[in-house]
Amino acid sequence: MTGVRLGKPWRDLDDAAVAALPGQLGVFQIGDAEGVVLELGFAGGRSRFGLRSAIAETAAKHERAARFRYEVTMQYWSRFEELLAVHLADHGELPVGNADRGDRRIGRIAAPGR
């Protein structure tokens, strides 16, 4: 059941890597140099250039942003909610960039693989 996590390898965050990203819809994580997830996000139907622009815009919000990883998916909304829930189950709190969710609930998913 580890497939619910975003298991893709981290990539170094640099202009060339971001420019080479697909313009497709999907989900992603922005991490620091140690691999701590700073923000979970998605490239949805309003994104200008899909993952390419969404990752660039989200990374720009975090000074410590050093890495990223992503997954192409049309089901970006449910996958995003799933990744938030799994992160909460694994770490007991949301990434700093996702902390402000208003009164929206985060789903409870048992920490799979534990």
């Binding site: 909304w77 985060i106 789903g107």
Partner: protein, 388 residues
């Protein structure tokens, strides 16, 4: 059957139509095309408006504070409330309130105090768990989740799948087999708190519908107190069945609602888009698509209202509910498909709501009982002689 609108109905529908047009549709310009929730400040503002209008909690029985509007009028309102991008699964983003889980109105006073009233106050959320990996269309045989008595409690073991809202719920209405020898008479309905040890949401099931997703659940020796049996032991199937029949009418109405909007869009586009020097609306190929849309819409609308009228009159409506669900879901799918065709490439984009309706309507032919099951219900009623 006469469906001439009363003056009061006209006023209500005009109010709802204006609400959707002026309050809901403009907000969608800034939301993700797959969103099904409003930002909290907008939600609070619009809920206050629906309360002021006297339309909040439309499906709540009058004795529990609902506005006491009959089902025909609520069906007409549902046609209007679905006419926006998220309208099929999140009509008006829920700002008209929900009725909670209908089964809770059959609960005892203690259960109502602990579950129904908190749901109506917006303090608790529940889910309905019938379908299992072994199937959902034939629950009497497919349910393998068991509940075994242990003193005053029950021990629940098993799995459920395609359960909406379970990952964010406080409790669930869960059907389990309590007597393996009795078939449909051996199923009991339990209220299960999601903080009980042994309850686990395994994963989200990703489908064509990206929001309002479903989840896969595990029950591993979950101890449920005896006071959480809903209704009578071994009588759970009747509770499930009643809910399934009732839900088919609003389910059909939502399909018709988005299809009405798709047809409106198709006509507007055909009147303005030119090819080879003339408007699409002058081309017979396009005209016939619009005519076929209209036939599907009128058929689905009339059959849905007929089912609602029979329910309002206290007459049996199982057959009519099954027919309207299958006609509306299949007809609406065709309407949206034709409307996409008329829009050409734009019809496929997330700039327009058609592609979302297309994906979500596909689920409607399976959800709330696949259309083959609806045909089976009608066949049983017609051939078996219980059709009136």
């Amino acid at each position: 059957m006469d469906f001439e609108l009363t003056a009061e109905q006209r006023l209500i529908l005009e109010t709802v139509r204006r609400f959707v047009h002026e309050e809901i549709v403009p907000l969608e310009a800034d939301l993700d095309p797959d969103a099904s929730e409003l930002p909290p400040h907008h939600r609070e503002r619009l809920v206050a408006m629906t309360k002021e209008l006297g339309f909040y909690g439309l499906d709540i029985p009058e004795e529990y504070g609902g506005p006491g509007i009959d089902l025909v009028t609520r069906t007409l309102m549902a046609f209007e409330m679905a006419q926006h991008r998220a309208g099929l699964y999140a009509p008006c983003y829920g700002v008209f309130g929900g009725a909670g889980l209908a089964q809770l109105y059959e609960a005892d006073d203690d259960q109502k105090e602990r579950y129904l009233h908190p749901v109506l106050r917006g303090e608790k959320r529940g889910f309905f768990a019938l379908t299992e990996p072994s199937g959902g269309s034939d629950p009497a045989r497919a349910i393998r989740t068991t509940a075994v008595r242990d003193g005053d409690d029950w021990i629940v073991d098993g799995e459920k799948t395609f359960i909406s809202g379970a990952d964010k719920a406080d409790f669930g209405i869960v059907f389990a087999r309590t007597d393996p020898e009795l078939g449909r008479k051996g199923i009991t309905c339990f209220i299960v708190d999601t903080d009980m040890p042994g309850f686990r949401v395994r994963r989200i099931v990703h489908t064509l519908r990206s929001t309002h997703y479903a989840a896969e659940l595990e029950f591993n020796r979950v101890r449920v107190p005896g006071r959480n049996v809903l209704g009578e032991v071994n009588q759970g199937f009747a509770i499930a069945n009643d809910r399934l029949s009732r839900n088919r009418i609003p389910y059909a109405a939502g399909c018709i609602g988005v299809a009405l909007k798709a047809q409106e869009m198709a006509i507007a586009y055909a009147r303005t888009r030119k090819t080879f020097g003339d408007y699409l609306s002058t081309r017979q190929a396009v005209q016939w698509m619009i005519v076929d849309n209209e036939i599907d819409l009128r058929t689905g609308r009339a059959l849905t209202l007929e089912a609602a009228a029979r329910a309002d009159a206290g007459k049996p409506f199982r057959t009519e509910a099954a027919i309207c669900k299958l006609v509306a879901s299949e007809g609406a799918s065709r309407v949206v498909d034709r409307s996409m065709q008329i829009h050409g490439g734009y019809g496929m984009t997330k700039d327009l709501p058609l592609e979302r309706w297309y994906r979500e309507l596909r689920i409607r032919r399976v959800g709330e009982g696949p259309n083959e099951i609806q045909r089976l219900i009608v066949a049983r009623d017609v051939i078996g002689g219980s059709f009136h």
